[in-house]
């Protein structure tokens, strides 16, 4: 029991500690691919420290909701990230929310972020919010379809069970899993505001979505939101790793050695995921905002197709 609590607590702290590192790593790899030196991988930690120490400059008509939102977003994202198996399955509290609930928690974070974008009454905030909800209105159903696919294969919507089933050799290669993987990557790119859907590095452009919503935030509020965004990226990489590369995950009640192996392989998986993301982002251009529905619609259709295949026969 005490080990379980320790593992769950470690999970919460590890995701929090590794999230900025993953963001810094992706930025570093991207810079190197572009033949730039790039900032150090620990730069996001320095940014966070600097922002946390600064005073908050609040717009004159900011309300209590504007001030509470960063903490709400951070809390829901952190809880969601803590429930995804990273290095061990069967976490102590993993049964308190299944994959549908994890996705709904992220939707809650987005709901409040979009509200914060409208809070001050500036046109940039509004444009960000309205585009964000348009993207979400297609990304979320696609995600639900992916969950259906996984749940039908594993007979469960619990992530730990799904990872266990997929790690067992009985599943094998399936068409539906392939479709779900492609759809999940598309959704993950959109959810994390990455190229080609949104560009995390731009400012002052009419194409921006996420950055436009957080434009009015400063100081510690901005730090918390940035940390939540890093957590979300880590969550999606962990999710893809846990479902599609479920090897070396420490099972319930595993010893210290298994946990250490799980942790080491988790870090390797994160590094591979981050490097692939950077490679993908440097090799593709950002698309126009109104091409995004086509992109996500394709994701939705792939997810629906995968689910339909499984409804027709369990063996695809």
């Amino acid at each position: 029991m005490s080990l379980d609590i320790a593992v769950q607590g470690m999970q919460m702290l590890i995701v929090l500690a590794l999230a900025p590192l993953l963001t810094g790593f992706v930025r570093k790899v991207k810079a190197r691919l572009l033949r730039r030196q790039g900032p150090s991988v620990v730069q996001p930690y320095r940014d966070l420290r600097r922002l946390l120490g600064k005073e908050v400059v609040l717009a004159e008509n900011a309300s209590w909701l504007f001030r509470a939102t960063p903490y709400l977003i951070f809390a829901t994202t952190w809880v969601a990230a803590a429930l995804v198996p990273t290095f061990a399955t069967g976490l102590l509290f993993s049964w308190s929310a299944d994959l549908i609930a994890i996705v709904a928690l992220l939707a809650g974070a987005r709901f409040f972020l979009a509200l914060a974008g409208m809070e001050i009454g500036t046109s940039f905030g509004g444009i960000g919010s309205s585009r964000e909800v348009m993207i979400a209105s297609l990304a979320e159903p696609a995600m639900i379809m992916i969950i259906f696919t996984l749940a039908l294969i594993a007979g469960s919507t619990q992530l730990s069970t799904i990872a266990d089933v997929l790690a067992s050799s009985g599943v094998g290669l399936r068409v539906s899993l392939g479709l779900a993987l492609v759809a999940l990557i598309m959704v993950a790119l959109a959810e994390n505001s990455r190229i080609p859907v949104d560009n995390p590095a731009t400012h002052l452009e009419l194409t921006m979505v996420h950055e436009a919503m957080v434009l009015e935030y400063s100081g510690r509020h901005l730090a918390v939101i940035e940390l939540a965004a890093s957590l979300k990226l880590l969550l999606y990489v962990s999710l893809i790793a846990c479902v599609f590369l479920p090897w070396q995950l420490a099972p319930v009640g595993a010893g210290i050695a298994a946990l250490a192996i799980g942790l080491a392989s988790y870090i390797v998986k994160l590094a591979v995921g981050g490097a692939l993301l950077a490679l993908f982002e440097t090799s593709i251009a950002k698309m126009r905002v109104f091409r995004v529905p086509d992109f996500l619609g394709a994701g939705l259709m792939l997810g629906l197709l995968a689910t339909l295949l499984l409804f027709v026969t369990r063996s695809f």
Binding site: N61, L65, T76, G121, E140, M145, A223, T307
Partner: protein, 670 residues
């Protein structure tokens, strides 16, 4: 609870109605009507809840010597009635309490007060009626009293048209139900529900009955394409009545559907489930898309009722599919999901309509484009409205998420269904459900963001003041219920068990005893959800983060003008509006669903006339279904009008021809 007690309460409501007629427009009449309605609703709520929790499910049948002489009026309260009675009276109690404050602003109270208790009485009577005649009579009483409430402000703009469309649709619905009961009663005229249950129906008859019930109960509930009256009529009534019509009266229609299809008809063919499922899925998505295009707050909420009815019918369709295939456990899960959503929707939709009433009475506006910044002027209303928005957007840890989660779990059981049509339809309906949930969140970001956030778009919105204590209390209680039902869903599911068990043939596992109060529909390894822990985790990690940052980092705050990338514009007109917020979604979905067209009229440089941007939306349901009907009726009546101006000789020859014709028919018939 004895049936006699409910009847006594209904009598009390009717008596209140009579007193209200005598009271006229005196302020004391407002006070009396709403406090009496509140007290009676509370009594009914408590007794219905104690029935549900106490497990007293087989109510006694009471026969009153009313109505058709040799039949009498039958009344009975079973578990299903008790559940719907508690949903109904929860809504009416909160609306009545709200009315104590809100009703004081009423300009013509004598047009509302007599009909309000009568409306409550009608709804209660529908739920306890135990024979066809009483049911139809109460149904029509409910329709007419609510029609009178819709017409309370009959001089305002479109209200007269709303009332007209409503009365036509309500009459057509009642006609469909009348025919349905006619078929159910059979040639021998079994009017009491007990006799109808005993008499079997041929499959063709059952199919006809189901079609008629879908028309009759579906039009009252707001199934697409029968929803057209709903977004007109619900917003036209005073806001607490809107809350009742949207939050509660649509549930009475759902009750009628469940009572007839699940209880009275008995066995049905599986393919009826496909129809209900498809209608539910289409209704859910169409309802929310319509809502996204609205900028009238109350009409937006009314369209969301259409969406939620769709979600409820998806659950009901799944339950039918499972039940006809003998999968009772899965049927229980799907039916629980549907009934849970019935409860949830009545709570948060009442809350949101009461909130819109608060905004209306504080600003005189329900057009989103003239609101804004109300979170500063009405912080408490803003808070409860936000709770309602989060709940209806199906976000954890509030209650809306739980019922959608249960529906998703039911969908995941459906690959075991044997029929291919269902196997292919159910995932598509699942995708529609997910799409409607995501769009609902988008819509409520718009509704809350444009109304409460940003800067005031009119002077009325800038000068608004918080509403009275009665209104706020009613809204706070409903908001609290959204939270409680979200973090303790197990108790709600257990409370539903008697009603579900009687209809689905099984019940869900007892939830109240599971560790940490999680809900486990089938088994722990398959799926579980714990709203309490999720809520506690969010609250704990959020407050720990806030505390740590304020303690160890910085807590300094400076107020400054908005940044807006260095180009802040002083005019509130530069903010995003409801129309511009919905523009991306309108482009994605609206071009096909609404034939949305945007026209930009940009004058040439040097030209002094203003630029124009016009959006045209078409309501395809209205254009392709109702226009031909109304057009055809107009043509026919134009033709028939000719017979009004005949001479006496011509009339006599028509009478003679009709007589001969009838005799010929009779002769051929024999």
């Amino acid at each position: 609870m004895s049936t006699a007690f409910v009847l006594a309460c209904v009598g009390g409501l009717l008596a209140t109605s009579v007193v209200a007629i005598v009271g006229g427009r005196r302020p004391v009449a407002t006070l009396f009507v709403y406090s009496a309605s509140f007290a009676i609703s509370l009594l009914l709520l408590v007794s219905a809840l104690s029935d549900l929790i106490g497990g007293e499910t087989q109510g006694d049948t009471l026969v009153l010597p009313l109505g058709i002489p040799w039949i009498g009026a039958h009344f009975r309260v079973d578990a299903l009635s008790a559940f719907f009675l508690s949903v109904l009276n929860l809504g009416t109690a909160s609306a009545s309490f709200y009315g104590l404050g809100y009703g004081r602003h009423e300009v013509v109270p004598e047009r509302t007060l007599p009909f309000y208790p009568a409306f409550l009485a009608g709804m209660n009577l529908v739920l306890i009626a135990d024979d066809a005649f009483t049911f139809l009579l109460s149904w029509e009483f409910m329709s007419l009293s609510s029609w009178a409430l819709v017409m309370a402000h009959h001089r305002d703009g479109d209200n007269a048209r709303a009332g007209y469309v409503y009365i036509v649709m309500a009459s057509a619905g009642t006609l469909a139900l009348l025919l349905a009961f006619g078929l159910l009663a059979g040639p021998d005229g079994f009017y009491s529900f007990t006799a109808i249950r005993a008499g079997g129906l041929t499959p063709v008859m059952a199919a006809l009955v189901l079609g008629l019930v879908l028309l009759g109960a579906g039009s009252k509930a707001g199934l697409v394409p029968l929803h057209v009256w709903l977004p007109l009529a619900h917003p036209a009534a005073p806001s607490h009545v809107s809350a009742l019509m949207s939050g509660v009266m649509t549930k009475v229609a759902v009750y009628a559907f469940i009572r007839i299809v699940f209880d009275l008809v008995g066995t049905i063919e599986w393919w009826w489930a496909t129809l209900v499922l498809a209608l539910g899925g289409i209704t859910a998505v169409m309802g929310v898309l319509y809502a996204l295009m609205q900028h009238d707050l109350k009409r937006l909420l009314a369209y969301h009722t259409v969406e939620n009815i769709g979600i409820i019918y998806i659950g009901l369709g799944l339950a039918l599919a499972f039940r006809t295939n003998g999968m009772t456990g899965a049927a229980a899960l799907a039916l629980t999901a549907a009934l849970f959503h019935v409860f949830n929707h009545s709570v948060f939709k009442s809350l949101l309509f009461l909130g819109s009433g608060a905004i209306l009475s504080a600003t005189g506006e329900r057009d989103l484009e003239r609101l804004g910044g109300l979170i500063h002027r009405m912080p408490q209303t803003a808070f409860v409205f936000l709770v309602g928005c989060v709940a209806i957007s199906a976000l954890p840890p509030l209650n809306g998420f739980v019922s959608e989660w249960l529906t998703f779990q039911a969908i995941l059981l459906s690959p075991d269904l044997p029929q291919w049509d269902l196997k292919i339809l159910v995932p598509a309906v699942g995708a529609l459900l997910a799409l409607s949930a995501a769009l609902a969140a988008a819509c409520f970001v718009k509704a809350f963001g444009v109304t409460f956030l940003g800067r005031a778009r009119s002077t009325a919105a800038g000068a608004a003041n918080e509403v009275d204590l009665f209104s706020r209390t009613a809204m706070f209680v409903l908001a609290l219920l959204c939270l409680l039902a979200g973090i303790f869903p197990g108790f709600v599911i257990d409370g539903l068990a008697p009603a579900v068990g009687g209809l689905a043939g099984a019940r869900m596992p007892v939830q109240g005893v599971s560790p940490w109060l999680s809900i486990v529909p089938i088994s722990q390894s398959r799926s579980s959800y714990n709203g309490l822990l999720v809520f506690a985790f969010i609250a704990a990690s959020g407050s720990i983060a806030a505390f740590a940052i304020h303690r160890f980092a910085s807590r300094a705050v400076r107020r400054a003008p908005a940044w807006d990338c260095g180009f802040p514009d002083a005019s509130p007109a530069t903010q995003y509006t409801a129309g511009s917020f919905a523009q991306p979604i309108r482009r994605v979905f609206g071009t096909s669903v609404f034939h949305a067209r945007e026209r930009v009229d940009m004058p040439a440089p040097g030209d002094m006339r203003p630029a124009h941007f016009v959006v045209e939306l078409r309501d395809l349901v209205w254009d392709s279904l109702y226009q031909p009907i109304t057009g055809g009726l107009a043509v026919v009546s134009e033709r028939l009008n000719h017979y009004q101006f005949l001479t006496i000789r011509q009339y006599l020859s028509i009478v003679f021809a009709a007589l001969v014709g009838l005799l010929l028919v009779l002769a051929l018939w024999q």
